[in-house]
């Protein structure tokens, strides 16, 4: 096992150890250790240190790891020989794994520190940290594994942790309901996800029996072979797209994409540190991560030649992401609850990432995931700090807190600038990358349809700046909404403000030091040079002939397009041409967005958009009702489901039960007959009424009546019975 793998596994195991320690203590001492917060924090701190060490030794120098380190061992085999289905423990560490490990451990560590202060007076305080440790372990496990089944296991584990933590205040009905909603909605996507996994496993194992076909490498290779016209997918071309879409459905629920985004806003019932860690920075991004890992599958047949811009799965992904981004962005305009506003913003940004993957840029999507984690965690923890101060989540109770909470304000402002995409901040670079790719996609398609993702993304870029500064202005500027609460507000203690400051710094520098023409890191390409499908996918398979062939005429999108094939060259050229206009456009969007927000919410002191612009008032109801998506589920889908259930119940009762009852009655008659025949020896005749099995059971038990003489007699009968049976049957 290579050292890198060992360290990566240690990173995963440390939080698990914290969990096991707490759990064992609870098992033997009937309560959690009082110092569970320390145990968990130290464990995740260790993981963070190791992750950063890997980052500084493996990822940063010399362009990152050239190829991933992989290790696997057999878990089990179903069947034997040529028909065996093999499942391995696959572990893979590459640039993306290490970067994601850093994101998860840094945010988790800061959230641990923050929670020691924020959650301190809550009931079940140690349990909170126990859940956090389990979550951190599961999330890290999800990142280091490199096969779909293992990924699915960790996927479910983070899901259940999310369920625990959303419902952490389970005595509050709304929290219990929200956790159930999250759990149920996620099962829908998971069912599709599983179907996708089974499809891939079924098709690949037919061609490659006796191998661990669910590992990423095998799936990538199968797609590369498909591009060459061979391999297991031949004859199953439709299934490629179908499997891609099914697997993407897992992302739709986990990453809260339309139309199954409905659980994420409700998940804000969980404690605010949880919202920051799980429902903003890490778990919800797992869907994006998973789709990125499966990118070749989504791209399908055209992956090897680079002509994958017509892949149906990618189209579904791009459009879903775009719709989610715009829709959530508009809903965020009318939210009066600070955390809900941030939640819709998260949905919207996740839509961005998904869309970036859909338009064919793994690097841009993941880059936005990376930068978003820091500033969104900072925003959530900042909102927690405010909520801690005013004991309310409603923005009408806030306002004017700038002077009371200068540090919180400063960090919140930095993060808002970052998420809006202001130059010099990390969000600018990642958003620029996404918009640039979407625009290149549009230009490459040369039709109106191709521009749809870009149009959605550009509108969202404006909305993002607008609604984020709305939140900022309503919370920190203007007059206090509630004088009493304002008077009692105060800056949060060091343990809470320190994570804010660290995250705010990361919100600036995570994209690289954003000086135009400055350092090597300043272009934002440092990330995409290390995280792109050439590095992650193609170089992962040095022995695969399909990939060797492919690398020969494939170039990276940021390199000059010499030697590339026509499709890549054309895309590349378009990307080059649209780059400058896109940047000016997004700068304009940021300025208009922030300026508009300032005008409406600081100068005119409106509380939402529709109050400020009367012609929009007729849309107020639509937005307030969240586009009627929740309403549709509650009024249409759930009752239909109940009707079907009633139908099934009726069928069960009138048809299935009738058959069962008839059989049981028949059995009972047989038993009655048997009881009659053996009336002399059976202690009381078996009456025909009871269930047939119980009657037969009584018959059997009847022989053992406690009298040893009878036992001997029956034994002889039994031997006789066997003799007759053996003679007759032979």
């Amino acid at each position: 096992m290579p050292d890198t793998i060992k360290i990566a596994l240690l990173i995963v195991v440390l939080p698990l150890a914290a969990w096991v320690l707490g759990f064992a203590h609870a098992a033997f001492r009937r309560r959690l250790p009082a110092c569970q917060d320390w145990i968990s924090t130290v464990a995740v701190g260790g993981s963070m240190a190791l992750s950063l060490w890997l980052f500084f030794t493996k990822v940063l120098p010399g362009g990152g790891m050239a190829a991933p380190e992989v290790w696997s061992c057999r878990w089990f085999a179903i069947g034997s020989g040529a028909n065996a289905f093999i499942l391995n423990f696959d572990v893979m560490v590459d640039n993306l794994t290490i970067l994601m490990n850093c994101v998860v451990t840094i945010v988790a560590f800061l959230v641990h520190v923050y929670s020691r202060s924020y959650m301190h007076d809550e009931d079940r305080y140690p349990r909170f940290f126990l859940h956090l440790s389990l979550f951190t372990f599961s999330m890290l496990g999800l990142l280091v594994t490199s096969n779909l089944m293992m990924l699915f296991i960790f996927w479910e584990l983070v899901g259940v942790c999310s369920y625990f933590l959303i419902g952490f205040f389970f005595l509050k009905k709304s929290a219990g309901d929200a956790s159930k909603k999250a759990f149920v909605v996620n099962r829908i996507g998971d069912a599709f996800f599983m179907a996708g996994i089974f499809m891939i496993g079924g098709i690949l194992s037919k061609q490659w029996p006796g191998e661990g076909v669910l590992s990423f490498q095998r799936i990538w290779e199968s797609i590369a072979l498909l591009g060459q016209g061979t391999g297991p997918w031949i004859g199953h071309e439709t299934e490629v797209a179908l499997a891609g879409v099914f697997i993407f459905m897992g992302c739709v629920t986990k990453s809260a994409q339309f139309p199954l985004h409905v659980w994420l806003p409700d998940a804000m019932e969980g404690p605010t540190p949880v919202s920051a860690l799980i429902h903003a920075a890490t778990m919800v991004a797992a869907g994006v991560y998973m789709v990125a890992r499966m990118f070749p599958l989504m791209a399908g047949k055209g992956y090897t030649s680079g002509e994958f811009f017509d892949s149906p799965a990618l189209w579904v992904i791009a459009i879903t992401g775009g719709i989610t981004a715009l829709m959530s962005g508009t809903i965020a305009l009318v939210q009066s609850d600070l955390k809900k506003g941030l939640a819709y913003s998260t949905c919207s940004q996740l839509g961005y990432m998904v869309m970036a993957l859909g338009v064919g840029s793994m690097g841009a999507g993941l880059f936005h995931l990376f930068t978003h984690a820091f500033f969104k965690a900072c925003l959530f923890l900042g909102s927690g700090s405010v909520i801690h101060a005013v004991h309310s989540q409603e923005m009408k109770d806030m306002g004017g807190l700038k002077k009371k909470m200068p540090l919180t304000y400063a960090t919140f402002l930095v993060s808002c600038l970052a998420i809006a995409g202001t130059p010099l901040f990390s969000g600018f670079l990642s958003k620029e990358a996404v918009l640039g790719q979407a625009a290149a996609f549009g230009a490459h398609h040369q039709g109106v349809l191709g521009w749809i993702p870009f149009a959605l993304a550009a509108a969202t870029a404006f909305l993002t700046a607008f609604y984020m500064f709305r939140l900022l202005f309503l919370t920190f500027h203007g007059k206090p909404g509630n004088q009493h609460k304002f008077d009692h507000a105060h800056e949060s203690p060091f343990a809470m403000s320190m994570p804010l400051v660290v995250l705010a710094i990361l919100a600036v520098i995570a994209g690289g030091i954003a000086l135009p023409g400055g350092l090597d890191l300043g272009t934002g390409h440092w990330f995409q040079d290390r995280v792109n499908d050439k590095v992650l996918v193609q170089q992962a398979m040095p022995e695969s002939a399909a990939f060797k062939d492919m690398q020969a005429h494939m170039v990276h999108l940021h390199e000059p397009a010499h030697g590339a094939n026509a499709a890549i060259a054309s895309f590349h050229e378009h990307a080059h041409h649209v780059h400058a206009p896109v940047m000016y456009m997004s700068l304009a969007a940021v300025i208009i967005g922030i300026g508009g927000a300032w005008l409406l919410f600081v100068r005119r002191r409106h509380i939402d958009l529709v109050g400020g612009i009367p012609p929009l008032a007729r849309y107020r109801e639509v937005l307030r009702n969240l586009y009627y998506v929740d309403w549709f589920y509650c009024q249409r889908v759930v009752p239909t489901g109940k009707d079907i259930a009633d139908l099934a119940k009726a069928f069960d009762k009138h048809v299935v039960d009738a058959i069962v009852n008839a059989v049981a009655r028949g059995g009972a008659h047989v038993a009655w007959f048997a009881g009659r025949v053996d009336a002399i020896v059976v202690d009381g005749a078996v009456n025909g009424s009871g269930a047939s099995m119980m009657a037969l059971g009584r018959f059997c038990r009847g022989f053992v009546n406690g009298r040893i003489q009878d036992y001997v007699k029956y034994t002889v009968w039994g031997l006789g019975l066997l003799l007759i049976w053996a003679v007759l049957a032979h």
């Binding site: 878990w75 089990f76 085999a77 099995m693 059971g697 053992v704 036992y711 001997v712 034994t715």
Partner: protein, 512 residues
């Protein structure tokens, strides 16, 4: 004459050299009895330690026999070597198995309420003596030794069952056990004498050879075989010799019930399988070849065993439905388990002579799982019974709250006995069913499936009581030793259900 004498002497001394584990056990019996007699105020813990050390020592001396093969105490007759006992991997497995059972039930006995503050040396001596008998059963290649081993193990078991003389149920169980056992023994002896009369030998190999040469009348041989089978079925607690089982299991001290349900059954299967091996194709454990023609099993052994298996599982499961006493329920459950295990023997007998058949792996694997799940279940019952003095199903109400770990352990073991993944019981049963289907015993596999469904009723009854029924009684404290033993018994059940591949390979290697 002098030559004969020295040959005999040589035989005995070489035999004794291969007989060391048994000698250690014999010595241990004496030491335990003497400790009870001569050490004033000897504590149960002391004798338990003596027994532990002795058993471990026996295990250590048994270990080298893993590599040994061949018969011991043998003599030349008619040009072939005819021994009394055989040492091979199969015997080794079952001997180790019984030894491990004796070891695992030691802490249970220490914890047993009725055993506290008593001279326990005698009890341990009885357990060790029973184990010694089972050692002989596992290695017997001579009908007389098989019978002697069964008797030896039974005698000790009778006494241990009635060990708590103040307990009326225990005494009653002991008496019934003696009477029933002697009937079984008589039946078996009758069969043995018929076989001896027909073949003129007691050695398996010689008998099989003789049968092939002379050919016995089908019905006569079948009757004799059936009577012998009765003796084995008595040890296996299988139909039709299962009648003693509920009364004895209920009456015996729970730790001994645990021992009986696992070790005694295993030894019964070991002796039976070796007998079957000799009586089917003739490729016995250590016999010379019988020529190229396999011995025709014309008296329908597979059919007979399959019938016994079918009836055992059905009767056991159906009767268990009605039980309200947990020990009695587990007794019937063990009759049913004997049915599942017999299924493996039927498959084995049917598969002899076929290239793919004759694999004892599934049987051995199921026994490995059975060791952990049945002992685990009995361990929890012992602990709870000695804490609360109760052994009825309703007394387990609310145990999920009162003793969560014990309840969890019992749940895992019950699910495993039922055959639910991810437990060893599931993997084991899956193999049994799979091999049954492959060997054209589909009807038996279907019946086993139906039986599994029936058994879910009573296994889940207990689980439901533990988790869904309320009970206001206080918490049950269990102690560290019990918790450790529970973990040692329950974790392997899960391991066998999750990482089974190496164990399947391992269990295959113990066949012959």
């Amino acid at each position: 004459m002098g030559n004969d004498f020295s040959q005999t002497q040589d035989l005995i001394s070489r035999g004794l050299a291969g007989f060391i584990p048994e000698l250690v056990l014999s010595a241990l019996v004496c030491v335990l009895l003497l400790a009870d007699l001569f050490i004033r105020g000897v504590k149960p813990r002391t004798t338990a330690w003596i027994a532990t050390i002795g058993l471990v020592l026996a295990g250590a001396t048994l270990w080298p026999r893993l590599a040994a093969s061949g018969e011991i105490f043998g003599w030349m007759q008619g040009g072939t070597q005819q021994g009394l006992l055989v040492t091979d991997r199969f015997a080794w497995f079952f001997q180790m198995f019984c030894l491990a059972t004796a070891l695992a039930t030691l802490p249970m006995a220490l914890d047993h309420a009725a055993f506290r503050a008593r001279r326990m040396g005698e009890y341990h001596a009885l357990v060790v003596a029973a184990t010694l008998g089972m050692f002989m059963m596992a290695g017997a290649v001579n009908l007389l030794i098989a019978w002697l081993g069964i008797e030896f193990a039974s005698m000790a078991s009778y006494l241990a069952t009635a060990f708590d003389k103040r307990d009326r149920r225990g005494s009653e169980g002991g008496i019934k056990y003696v009477i029933y056992g002697s009937v079984a023994s008589g039946v078996m002896l009758y069969g043995l004498s018929l076989i001896y009369g027909m073949t003129g030998s007691l050695h398996y190999g010689a008998i099989a050879q003789q049968l092939q040469v002379s050919g016995a009348s089908d019905l006569g041989l079948m009757t004799a075989a059936l009577l012998v089978f009765g003796g084995f079925a008595y040890k296996m607690a299988a139909f039709p010799m299962h009648f003693w089982c509920p009364d004895v299991y209920e009456g015996a001290p729970t730790p001994f019930t645990a021992y009986l349900s696992v070790a005694s059954k295993a030894a019964g299967f070991a002796v039976f399988v070796r007998f079957i091996a000799a009586f089917t194709t003739g490729e016995g454990p250590s016999f010379v070849a019988f020529g190229s023609v396999p011995f025709d099993a014309s008296f329908g052994w597979p059919t007979l065993i399959a019938a016994a298996a079918a009836l055992s599982m059905t009767v056991g499961n159906l009767a268990a439905l009605w039980q309200t006493n947990v020990k009695r329920m587990l007794a019937w459950s063990s009759v049913a388990q004997a049915g599942y295990l017999l299924m493996a023997v039927a498959v084995y007998a049917a598969g002899r002579g076929r290239p793919s058949g004759g694999d004892l792996g599934p049987l051995i694997f199921y026994f490995i799982a059975y060791f952990f799940m049945n002992l685990g279940a009995f361990h929890v019952v012992t602990v709870i019974a000695s804490r609360t003095g109760a052994q009825h199903v309703e007394d387990f109400n609310g145990l999920g709250r009162r003793a969560p770990w014990m309840a969890f352990g019992l749940t895992v073991c019950l699910l495993s006995l039922l055959g639910v993944p991810p437990t060893g019981g599931f993997t084991g049963k899956l193999q049994l069913l799979q091999t049954a289907v492959e060997n054209h015993l589909v009807w038996l596999a279907v019946l086993a499936g139906i039986n599994t469904a029936i058994s879910a009723f009573y296994y889940f009854k207990l689980i439901r009581c533990m988790y869904l029924h309320e009970n206001q009684a206080g918490l049950v404290t269990t102690g560290t030793t019990n918790a450790v033993l529970l973990a040692l018994l329950v974790l392997p059940v899960l391991v066998l259900g999750l990482a089974f591949s190496p164990f399947i390979e391992l269990s295959r290697s113990f066949g012959f």
